[in-house]
């Protein structure tokens, strides 16, 4: 498996990515230990950015820790907590640290997390963040103001030195109802410069096939999202709370027996990966703590 998103995309191979989350605390050792299970198996490991609006250590620091351990980080960036000044600044900072794979998202709303009284920012959204990153790659920023002396409009200030180079990613929810708005938005993201796309959790290959058919040919790899189910309770929670996610009853039933749960889960998700593989260009593994079982899933899926 090529390391880094650019190399993986250029290789034309089936792409595998993983995901870890920084803790609510200042000790990231456990997060790095979880990421170790991906070593040699994935092109990139997403580090989530205050996901679900639950306060925790930053994605950038998590990425740095992975990089120090020799693992390939993908910086997730959401627009909820920072305005365009801070987002561009962080993009430059990431590049300065050698972190250049970036997943651009709008982000979950504040009230869904543990600081519901926080002020939501959303100065940019996923598309304008992608555009901002693209512009930085061209050597200029989003600056836009009237020069006080000349009266001329300044549209972009030049960056010092060679511009950053990013491989930009985006997300889509293939199960959202209705589906069309998701497709419109994804096309905007591609137009704005996204080079790969990771999807929300998929459990229904038929629905995913419909999505891919309606999307048609796009010039970027689509990586189907695999959220590893750990228990019937988790599956039911996702059905009730995650938009566009429908875990079928038979999968929930497979997880009922505690004794066989892990083995069944590995088997089910390996099958899911195999079923999805012909329809897409990669998979994005989101094991939510079950990182240690990802190698077994990939092995069984023949990846």
């Amino acid at each position: 498996m090529p390391v880094g998103m650019r190399e993986a995309i250029d290789s034309g191979q089936f792409i595998i990515t993983g995901e870890v989350a920084p803790p609510k605390g200042c000790h990231l050792e456990h997060m790095v230990e979880e990421a170790e299970f991906y070593r040699g198996r994935v092109a990139g490991i997403n580090v989530t950015d205050i996901q679900s609006s639950v306060m925790r250590a930053s994605s950038l620091v998590g990425c740095l820790k992975l990089k120090e351990a020799g693992l390939p980080p993908v910086l997730q960036m959401v627009c909820r907590d920072r305005n365009r000044l801070a987002l561009q600044s962080e993009l430059l900072s990431a590049c300065a640290l050698g972190i250049t794979d970036v997943l651009c998202l709008t982000g979950d709303y504040t009230t869904l997390g543990d600081h519901p009284q926080a002020k939501p920012v959303f100065d940019l959204d996923s598309v304008s963040l992608l555009k901002a990153a693209r512009r930085l790659m061209e050597g200029r920023d989003m600056a836009y103001y009237k020069n006080a002396r000349t009266g001329e409009i300044v549209d972009g200030e030049a960056l010092d030195g060679a511009p950053p180079s990013f491989c930009l990613g985006c997300v889509v929810n293939p199960g959202a109802v209705p589906m069309e708005p998701q497709i419109y938005k994804l096309l905007k993201k591609i137009e704005a410069g996204a080079e790969f796309c990771q999807t929300q959790a998929v459990y229904d290959p038929a629905l995913f096939e419909e999505f891919m058919t309606r999307l048609g040919d796009v010039p970027i790899p689509i990586l189907a999202g695999i959220v590893v189910l750990k228990s019937p309770m988790m599956a039911k929670y996702m059905n009730a709370n995650v938009a566009g996610v429908k875990v079928p009853d038979w999968m929930i039933a497979e997880l009922e027996d505690k004794e066989t749960r892990v083995a069944k889960s590995i088997e089910m998700h390996a099958k899911l990966v195999q079923d999805l593989k012909p329809m897409c260009q990669g998979v994005h593994m989101m094991p939510l703590g079950w990182d240690k079982h990802v190698p077994a899933i990939l092995d069984l899926a023949g990846l």
Partner: protein, 225 residues
Amino acid sequence: MIASSKKAFEEILRMLEGHERIFIIGCGDCATQCQTGGEVEVEEMKQQLEDAGKTVTGTAVPDVTCNVLDTARVLRQQKEAVEQTDAFLVLSCGTGVQSVADSQESKPVFPGVNSLFSAITKRKGQVYERCVCCSDCVVGDYAGICPMARCPKGQLHGPCGGYDEGKCEVNPEQDCVWALIIERATKTGQLEQVLEHMGSQGAKNWQADTHPGELVFEPRRAGKL
């Protein structure tokens, strides 16, 4: 109009601590429509304050309390009551409260309601936010529906992945504005333009929305166009 909701009476009493002689001012416009500061609510507040041991020196419901000159004129008509007043309790949006403060320089003013949002009234008792007064109207690009006001994230490029069956993830009782925009654009024959222009104005210009807003102009003289 400006939608408003009543403050809890305990909060009002806490604000009024140390002030015994209260003059209550409502508003004949938005707060009357929202049933937070009309004649009825002013009278109810008078009763509640008196039950709590306060003296109500007077009440007034100006036509539009945010009009400083009109409100000052209404209060001049009750000069004696105003003179005996320790503090004003204003049952109108925040602009009404400050309009009273503008003409009553030496007396404290307190709000009795919370201003909520700039709203439309669908019918009596059904009031919905439709505009965030962003100073740079974009509804022309979105089939006449404002994503700034009606998408919690104020996105300009289409929906997030959180809507379900056309409902918003943040408040599942509410429609996802993007479903509404696409539905209306389909009906008005604007879908193609909407999809093309969606977000084409670039990132939102928040400089135009710097506070405090100010609008000063030469008023047209009566009888002249």
